[in-house]
Symmetry: C2
Subunit: 432 residues, 2 copies
């Protein structure tokens, strides 16, 4: 066996026939496997079950400042939850608002408020003929859905190994005042696992923006989601708040995090942190929308996770469950695809995904073949704005949900499909 | 003693001097009492504590359709929660979306979506030069805050004993296409405890609206919050969905309810119900904002309250705690104010408030006097849009939070303040 591209057409045909037979055998098994979404496994969820014993009918429901968490009130969160979420957000409690169950909602609402009310005393974005947004690609499909829903035009910019291509970003934001912001998943980015370098963070903070109300949405979803025990070795992330403060752009960012992949997705707590001016403005706006978020859940989480150290200890248990899965992905992809040389992929040190790049024009076909064989992947193109991957090559692999044996099986199917799609593409290009 | 208005000036002065001495004696006690907000008492919150034992580390977290409630997903709620909230909303589960912890947020978000996206296929409301909204008065201050925040111009319409003055409402909506909707608290309205008559509901459903996308925000916050055991005696509310269906305006309403004043305010679950078309549209819009609401809390509530009957049984326990407080309000107001004849007030059969009307021009002064004496009331004017009660006469009394003895004391203070304000006003008008 050698590189697929180096095969003679007849060899390609023979290999394809062999793979198609393998594929038909797989299909006959009637599999139902899922590598589509970044969901924790049941074993990971079990790690947080002890939290559910902390608030019973016998418990004290007062926060440390005496608030009865069972009643109305407290727009920004109880003190112990603010402090804990500040640890997660690498910030101080005064700059934190503890929110509802989802950072996605927090981000959507933040952009919606910028559109309706404006930010920093500037005019509502909705008064612009068009609002544009920078989207490092590949990126997170739900970020793109927020922009699409709110009518914000997305401009893809490439991701490098140290964050977004800052030469492009700087050139774009310097010229166009309708570019109002950028999505950033600065640590273990979705899907390619990139950690932004200090240099990237500093350039984001200090770059000259034509829009005076340019905002960085800093979705630090995987801040503590290391796959290995010693986070120091992976390099720590420079705090965007600190960088903006130093650059004289203190209001440029909104930071987001949640406990969704720490405790329970959908039943965790989310928070945002920003400058004192942005926090004051956001609190005022929130007052019309809500009396207070779920303080019982805040209390439950604060009593369970306690602080940054408590979170880190808990995340080491998650890492122990996730490491074998990410290791299996690497092992299977290498053994299955190295010789064929039809793909490359990321080897992340944290987060929830492996970013896979097949031959151009094969992602849609690969995902369709996998689906037909009972393995659901994230849709091809999902990692690009408007679902449009111009090379049709990127696929997001989400290995966290299935048990190890199922993941093993699903990867076999995926590899077979990627090879079939590659050979079909190579043969088609020979015919042209 | 006789009616204040019938007193001679010297008699008024003497009575005022007596009351001022009483007031100074009260002030010297350094009280700190609160009748400002519609918050359940600690004893009411205790009623729901058994709910907190239903989900522990040993529990099954699967909903009845097999969903693991600890993980992501389910935009509209787990089946048992949809069914229970449908009971509360007098609707069927298919027309229900279970949401987050607050119906206020649900209503704010609904209006925000109408502004940004439009509703029913019509243009976004934000494209209008001005959007207007009907506000029955006195009404709920947080409704008015939503409109004010979103830049919706509020038009007050009077409340009668059977709901909003429908002659005025019909005349206004027939002529002005920029009037896009109306706030309704159809049962035990906030603050005056009115239950809409069938006739009112039918007229709301069938009235000719110049705006084809006119929407009734049906905030049924007190649907099951009866003060007396037999709801039948109080007359049941005609369902707005049924009325709109019959009137051929099936998409005219959004219904809202929550368990805030059933279990825990801020830690309950909210829901909306609407027509199939509105629900489909809302779900699509929600998909960009959230992956799913807190299903663990949905499961907890569904297992605790179970269904409409379970809710009714639970609400009877609340009523037992609330009845003595509302009875005390009536008793004290009658004994303290009947002879002076300076005020009228509601005698609600459910809900959380008593609406009090003093002499014109006395509400602000009464509330200020009470505050100075250590009794916090809802701000005067709060029951009107923009905080502007043109007669300065309406005050919302919220008797639920304080224990009975504190309430007794607070009412004494309030009555003294209302009398002082009335006499000051009468004397001032004699001088003119």
């Amino acid at each position: 066996m050698t590189h697929y591209e180096a095969l003679a057409p007849q060899e390609m045909e023979a290999e394809l026939a062999r793979l198609r037979a393998e594929y038909e055998a797989i299909k006959a098994q009637g599999l139902k496997l899922n590598m589509a979404r970044g969901k924790p496994s049941a074993a990971q969820l079990d790690l947080s079950l002890p939290m559910m014993d902390l608030l019973t009918s016998q418990s004290d429901y007062h926060s440390e400042d005496g608030t009865d968490c069972r009643n109305y009130g407290v727009i920004d969160g109880i003190p112990e939850a603010k402090r804990m979420m500040a640890d997660l957000l690498d910030d101080v409690p005064e700059n934190v608002i503890v929110l509802g169950n989802a950072s996605l909602t927090a981000m959507y609402d933040t952009l919606a408020r910028c559109l309706t009310f404006g930010t920093g005393g500037f005019a509502p974005w909705s008064e612009e003929a068009q609002v544009k947004w920078l989207c490092p690609v590949p990126g997170y499909d739900r970020h793109f859905s927020v922009c699409e829903a709110l009518g914000i035009e997305m401009i893809p910019v490439p991701m490098n190994s140290d964050g977004p291509d800052m030469d492009q970003v700087e050139a774009l934001v310097a010229e166009d005042p309708t570019i109002k912001g950028i999505w950033c998943v600065p640590k273990y980015s979705n899907p390619n696992g990139v950690v932004y370098s200090d240099e990237t963070v500093k350039r984001l903070a200090s770059m000259a923006c034509a829009a005076p109300d340019f905002r960085i949405i800093w979705d630090n979803a995987y801040a503590v989601h290391h796959l290995f025990d010693d986070p120091q070795e992976q390099g720590s992330l420079l705090d965007i708040a600190e960088a903006c403060q130093e650059a004289g752009t203190p209001d440029r960012y909104f930071k987001f995090a949640s406990t969704s992949k720490i405790t329970f997705p959908g039943a965790g707590i989310a928070a945002l942190a920003s400058s004192p001016a942005n926090i004051a403005e956001t609190k005022k706006q929130l007052n019309a929308q809500i009396i207070g978020h779920d303080k019982i859940n805040q209390l439950r989480h604060a009593r369970f996770l306690k602080d940054g150290e408590g979170i880190a200890a808990h995340m080491r248990k998650h890492a122990a469950l996730l490491r074998p899965k990410f290791a299996l992905v690497q092992e299977k992809l290498h053994s299955g695809l190295d010789e064929a040389a039809i793909a490359s992929w990321s080897d992340p040190q944290g987060g929830y995904f492996v970013s896979f790049d097949g031959l151009p024009g094969t992602a849609t076909r690969t995902v369709a073949l996998a689906k037909e064989a009972g393995v659901t992947m994230t849709g091809a193109g999902a990692t690009w704005p408007y679902g449009n991957d111009p090379r049709d090559s990127n696929i997001r692999i989400a290995p966290t949900l299935p048990p190890l044996e199922e993941l093993d099986h699903a990867l076999d199917v995926f590899i077979c499909c990627a090879k079939i799609a590659a050979l079909e593409s190579l043969l088609a290009s020979l015919e042209q």
